[in-house]
Amino acid sequence: MELVVFVLASAMVIVGALGVVLRPNPVHAAMSLVLTLFGVAVHFVALEAHFLAAVQVIVYAGAIVVLFLFVIMLLGVDKAEDLSIEPFPIQRPLAVVIGVAVSGLVIAAVARAKDTIGEGIPLDADGDQNVQALARNLFSDHVFAFEFTSILLVVAVAGTVLLTRKDKRADQSGGQQ
């Protein structure tokens, strides 16, 4: 049963990832990204990481993809891009070779580390205790980092507002010219 769930969720992840890379229309690519993120959330549930699965769905599939869609609609770039144009002739085959090589290297490393990782059943974690254990760890060992993430988020939001604000003086001088 677990293997069936794994295969189905992996199919979602791979199909969605290929969709992001291959779809010419940015809206379709964003929808494929949702498929991938839900697949990863299913994997998190299967690994008994329930809190992260919930955060994955809410933050990634909810907030981040909606942000992408907002920007696509705001800029009006929701037209299909012509993928047959290739500005640098050798770029695509080279990129595919490098991507396959990166995957292959990591898989080779995993194969070599088989003794360390072990072949046991991965789960001896108790799913019911996941949220409590994560909270205890987050608010004791990592409490400083946790507080700093609030500063990070405030700085990011304030910086983005400042960055995307239309400059009024520039608009006025532009109107005078």
Binding site: S10, I14, A17, V59, Y60, V96, I107, L134, N137
Partner: protein, 109 residues
């Protein structure tokens, strides 16, 4: 017979690590192939998700919750990164509609 085999089998940690590696490779390839800055951002999200999956698989395998805490921080930083990156993309594309990654050399000295 096959259904019984499938029902009894359990995916090991190695399966998750291989899936993470494949997802990372797809994201890296997309980042190098696509020229639309928005799609390139989505490919970065793919790579971050591959790393998150690897983190969680190993955290569960070794029974150490620190890995899941790391994934939590990766998610927070990814959210902040997307906000800032999309802000930059908006301010560039507003000035030059249809700009691709090849056109973005404005920071060049």
């Amino acid at each position: 017979m096959i259904a019984m085999l499938l029902a009894a089998a359990v995916p090991t940690t190695t399966y998750y690590l291989v899936l993470g590696a494949v997802l990372f490779g797809i994201g890296a390839t997309g980042l190098m192939v696509r020229r639309n800055p928005l799609i390139m951002f989505m490919c970065i999200e793919l790579m971050l998700n591959a790393v998150n999956l690897t983190f969680v698989a190993l955290a569960v395998r070794f029974g150490n919750i620190d890995g899941q805490t790391a994934v939590f921080f990766v998610m927070v930083v990814a959210a902040a990164e997307v906000v800032v990156g999309l802000g930059i993309i908006i301010s560039i594309l507003r000035r030059r509609p249809g700009a691709t990654a090849d056109d973005l050399a404005e920071l060049k000295g």
